[in-house]
């Protein structure tokens, strides 16, 4: 720029250009326009409002280490989880009514366990001497039998319960606390060919004895419930718990009630529950608005 300085010092034709202004180009070694063109924005330059793709850029404040890829949420309802440390992964939306659970340390969708009771069968007995709830599927954990409003056609019949209609000697262990009338309470255990509450002084039967009570007063009719655990097992005896009661019209009359636990000493799966007449020649019937219901518990 020595020549430029000389021109500035000439002070005539270039009077409008000061030495300061000329000094601005001091050090220029190539065409200024070419240099300016090289710095002009191009299609790949970042602008405030443009849409650009950044590659291998680090934002230091705030720090964004790795942004989760939105392709992990390709479907409505998808969720993002860590399949390993610092490893986002997609959990696709599950099916209707499925619930989120954990398997193998990662979340997944699974069918919710129902955990409820399913009505398997409901029967309104009418003049029956025997009832068999047969072909019970082994798909539940427990069975629950509930009955009420059962009365007999006479006062000299007795009805009990068997599983798979098994009448083998001592097939049923019955451990009962029984109550009869207003003052007597007894407990006792007995093995028998059917289910029976056998206290020290009296015996009480699930579907009643001498229950010719067709009135609408339900407590006088046979009623009760029974839970049978693990009924589908083919390797364990079957535990049952039952409460039942009724008003007995013959012999020692009065209300008879039982709370008992017992076992059917058989490892076969229970596929039928049988209400059997074990005494007399009468029949049993459900009163109006009453029934015998069998539930399966999941």
């Amino acid at each position: 720029m020595t020549k430029a300085r000389d021109l500035a010092n000439a002070g005539t034709a270039l009077g409008a250009v000061s030495a300061t202004e000329l000094a601005f180009v001091d050090g220029v070694t190539s065409a200024i326009q070419t240099q300016i063109d090289a710095k002009a924005p191009s299609s790949t330059a970042v602008t405030l409002t443009g849409t650009q793709t950044l590659t291998n850029k680090t934002l230091t404040s705030p720090v964004i280490a790795s942004v989760v890829n939105n392709t992990l949420t390709s479907t409505t309802g998808d969720m993002i989880y860590a399949s390993a440390a610092n490893t986002p992964a997609r959990l696709g939306i599950g099916s209707s009514a499925q619930v989120l659970t954990v398997a193998g340390g990662i979340p997944s969708w699974a069918t919710a366990s129902s955990g409820g009771m399913t009505l398997i069968s409901e029967t309104v007995a009418s003049g029956l001497s025997s009832l068999s709830l047969s072909s019970i599927a082994g798909t539940f954990k427990q069975l629950v039998l509930i009955w009420c409003g059962v009365y007999h056609s006479d006062n000299s019949s007795t009805f009990s319960i068997r599983f798979n209609n098994d009448s083998t000697a001592s097939a049923y262990c019955n451990n009962a606390m029984t109550g009869s009338g207003s003052t007597n309470f007894n407990s006792g255990a007995i093995d028998d060919t059917f289910i029976v509450g056998n206290g020290a002084s009296f015996t009480i039967y699930p579907f009643g004895q001498s229950v010719n009570n067709s009135t609408s007063y339900f407590p006088t009719m046979a009623q009760g419930f029974m839970t049978i655990d693990n009924y589908a097992s083919t390797s364990k005896v079957k535990n049952f718990q039952t409460n039942f009661g009724y008003y007995k019209n013959a012999g020692t009359t009065g209300y008879a009630n039982v709370q008992m636990i017992g076992q059917w000493k058989n490892i076969s799966a229970i596929t039928s529950i049988d209400v059997v007449r074990i005494g007399g020649s009468g029949t049993f019937t459900n009163a109006t608005d009453a029934s015998i219901r069998l539930y399966g518990v999941s």
Binding site: T123, S129, S135, I278, G280
Partner: protein
């Protein structure tokens, strides 16, 4: 003597007369509970006799045993 059989899976019902084996079992059951009734009655009579002999009521006997 009708027996109602309900297939709880299909809901199919069938009502039939008891067969010979079931009738035979009923006779056995009948004898079984008749025996129980006799034993229970005998116990009740023996109990009442004992209370009379002791000159106390059933409630008083309960009190003694409580």
């Amino acid at each position: 003597m009708s027996k109602l059989i309900i297939n709880v899976q299909t809901g199919e019902t069938k009502e039939r007369e008891l067969n010979k084996a079931e009738k035979d079992q009923q006779k056995i059951d009948e004898a079984n509970i008749a025996k129980k009734e006799i034993e229970a009655e005998a116990k009740a009579i023996a109990k009442a006799a004992l209370l009379t002999q002791l000159g106390i009521t059933a409630e008083q006997a309960k009190l003694l045993l409580s």
